[in-house]
Amino acid sequence: MLGLNRKDLTLMMIVAAMTLLAPIILNPFPSDSAMAQFNAGYPDLMQRFVIFGIFAIGFNILFGLTGYLSFGHAAFLGVGSYSAVWMFKLLSMNVIPAIVLAVIISGLFALVIGYISLRRSGIYFSILTLAFAQMSFNLAYSVLTPITNGETGLQLALDDPRVLDGGSSGGSLPVTQLFGLEMRATTQLEIGAWSFDFNVGYYLCAAIMLAVFYLAIRIFRSPFGIMLRAVKSNQQRMNYTGLNSRPYTLAAFVISGMYAGLAGGLMASMDPLAGAERMQWTASGEVVLMTILGGAGTLIGPVLGAGFIKYFENIFSKINDNVLHSWFAVMPDGIEDFLVTIVHPFVGKGWHLTLGLMFMAVVIFLPGGLVEGGQRIGRFVTGRRNKKAGGAEAEAARKQPAE
């Protein structure tokens, strides 16, 4: 079905089911219980899950398949956001033209940057992309202020033309919508002690994510994808056989740039503002973290990584000392205070420390990311017999061709 083999189809179905039921799955705790802070099923966070999922899927098409480590991908996300917000300002509050323009502009941007950067490989490529991204960031902050609105960030204003919507709509800022369906519209469903939010914006993002996830599977399984893998395993040999690998890598770069632009456009569609800090190199670093943490080169890895990081960013940073005290309240006072002091630096504002440590641990012990971790656990549980069947494929994929 859909041109996928059975394994991919199962994966696709699982991802589809998970994203569509996310508002329910992510809210496993009753809304007034003590565990409610671990609920992630509110619209803002779920939107971020899927948007960064898209971003990471796109990054993985470049990094996972070709092995080119770009440290400037956030620039495309930023460009996408800016173009989407401009579309809201000039044309209409409908998200379709905004998203389309975001993808096109960031694709063009990626074409230019990729054309130049892909002349070099390895660390030189990383530095080149980093240099371009930092250039865009610095320019967005300084000279391009008429377009980007500098430090304040680009926002909607009441006197924007909005040609299709016919000028301003009374005294309040208009909201983004899809043919009249407002992005922020949320239906709340209460079942017993539980409450679930079904948000229009989230489902738009989720639908788009499923579409681009499907596209990514097709790219991975296509001859084009195999060509990209060949670039990763031995580019020199490819060149010797008379193949010019540059068009393939450039295509991968542009595709992943368009994914990033799409993510940027969606981000602006959910919340119509765009700032230069989205283009900073630490933001590029974040998508690298997501992809590696989940498992570079795997289909589901980047999505997992994005969800993982965004979930913990939100949940960990909400835990403060009071929460900690209530957790350890069963312990005797001395031990309680001691435990709180120990845990305190890793949560709340210090959650980046946890992220850094986790990331280091993954790079050191699990170079294949969460996916590899899952496979190891799976192998451990199901015992040795499956190891041969399931492990052989993974091993073959990891093995470099003999010299």
């Binding site: 092995g67 480590l69 130049i116 002349r119 070099r120 390895g122 660390i123 030189y124 990383s126 530095i127 080149l128 980093l130 240099a131 371009f132 930092q134 250039m135 610095n138 320019l139 902050y141 300084s142 000279v143 391009l144 190199w281 630490t282 670093g285 690298v288 973290l289 590696i292 630096p345 210090g350 980046h352 420390l353 992220l355 850094g356 440590l357 990331f359 280091m360 790079v363 050191i364 170079p367």
Partner: protein, 343 residues
């Protein structure tokens, strides 16, 4: 003319910082073959060594002032730093005033230890892994170090002034026959320039004129052969990692009066110093120094007003533009060796 000289001088101190960090990066890359994204964090730790020394020296105790009361009738108190009570008022104040230069003495052992621990504890397991893995793990380490510093010292920049004697500016123009006040240059920046020139010279002399340095250079050229000759090259490379960390740390210590240190200063410098290393040529020490000064000076020329009028925003991107141009025309950088990082 005077404006050109002024911009040239302005470029020197930034260039010195770039050169020092890039020198350390290249040392690590040239010896161990590791791409160290945590090098900016080392620079930052150095800067916070200066903050620590300043705080330690200013530790004080409360003393009641005899015969005076505040408006509530409580006895007035005043803080007296311990160093003042130990060494007398004048010397004590002098010591506090000179806390940044004194921090050098503190920073050298600290940075050496940090470097050793980092190399033995983490980096040594990454020699055989791909460069991408090295970049990622050191990037993670940089985040961790940065967050630890943030937990201890908070997120705000901490001002650490230079000694009183160096706070003024030098009227440089008078010496060269220009009118007074045309070329003024803060003393501390001059100090910074000479300090980094000294450090750079010391590193080069160490590599060039000592037996230890000779072995290290041999190891950079052919690690395996040196190892086969029965020399424990790993140990020496570990020492070089420590030295590289110390160089970055010292650059940080002395930079604190120019820019108040905050926890993400390392990241800001890291990107630029990587660009510097690439422009200079991966693995080339003279290249790193040359490119550091060159880019620092170029950057300050680009921020001259009449250039900005012609090309707006050029001061923000000049370094990256130069880097892109150099990478595309001379892939090995200015002074890069053949066969380094060309896989």
């Amino acid at each position: 003319m005077d404006a050109i000289i002024l911009q040239f001088l302005n470029g020197l101190d930034k260039g010195s910082a770039y050169a020092l960090i890039a020198l350390g990066l290249t040392l690590i890359f040239g010896t161990l073959g590791v791409v160290n994204f945590a090098h900016g964090a080392l620079f930052m730790i150095g800067a916070f060594c200066a903050v620590t020394v300043q705080r330690l020296l200013s530790l004080s105790y409360e003393v009641e002032v005899e015969g005076e009361t505040d408006f509530l009738g409580n006895p007035m108190t005043t803080d007296i730093p311990y160093v003042q009570s130990w060494f007398g008022e004048a010397i004590g104040q002098g010591i506090i005033d000179w806390s940044v230069p004194l921090a050098i003495l503190f920073a050298i052992p600290v940075m050496l230890i940090v470097g050793f621990v980092m190399e033995r504890g983490l980096i040594q397991y990454f020699y055989k892994r791909p460069h991408a893995d090295q970049i990622l793990v050191t990037f993670g380490l940089a985040i961790v170090l940065q967050e630890i510093i943030k937990q201890i010292y908070g997120a705000n920049p901490i001002p650490t002034p230079a000694p009183e004697a160096f706070r003024g500016s030098l009227d440089f123009g008078v010496w060269l026959g220009f009118d007074p006040n045309t070329i003024i240059y803060p003393y501390w920046r001059l100090v910074y320039f000479f300090f980094s020139a000294f450090i750079i010279a010391a590193v080069f002399a160490f590599l060039q004129f000592t037996t230890f340095g000779m072995v290290v250079r041999a190891g950079m050229a052919d690690r395996e052969t040196v190892g086969l000759l029965g020399i424990n090259i790993d140990k020496r490379f570990t020492v070089m990692f420590g030295i590289a960390a110390a160089v970055a740390g010292l650059a940080g210590v002395m930079y604190t009066p120019i820019n108040s240190p905050n926890y993400h200063m390392g990241m800001d410098f890291l990107v630029l110093s990587f660009v510097v290393v690439v422009v200079g040529g991966m693995g080339s020490l003279p290249g790193a120094v040359l490119a550091g000064f060159l880019l620092g000076i170029l950057q300050s020329f680009a921020s001259m007003n009449w250039i900005k009028d012609i090309l707006p925003g050029i001061d923000q991107i000049i370094i990256y533009l130069v880097a892109i141009a150099i990478l595309l025309t001379r892939p090995r950088g200015l002074l890069g060796r053949k066969g380094v990082m060309e896989d």
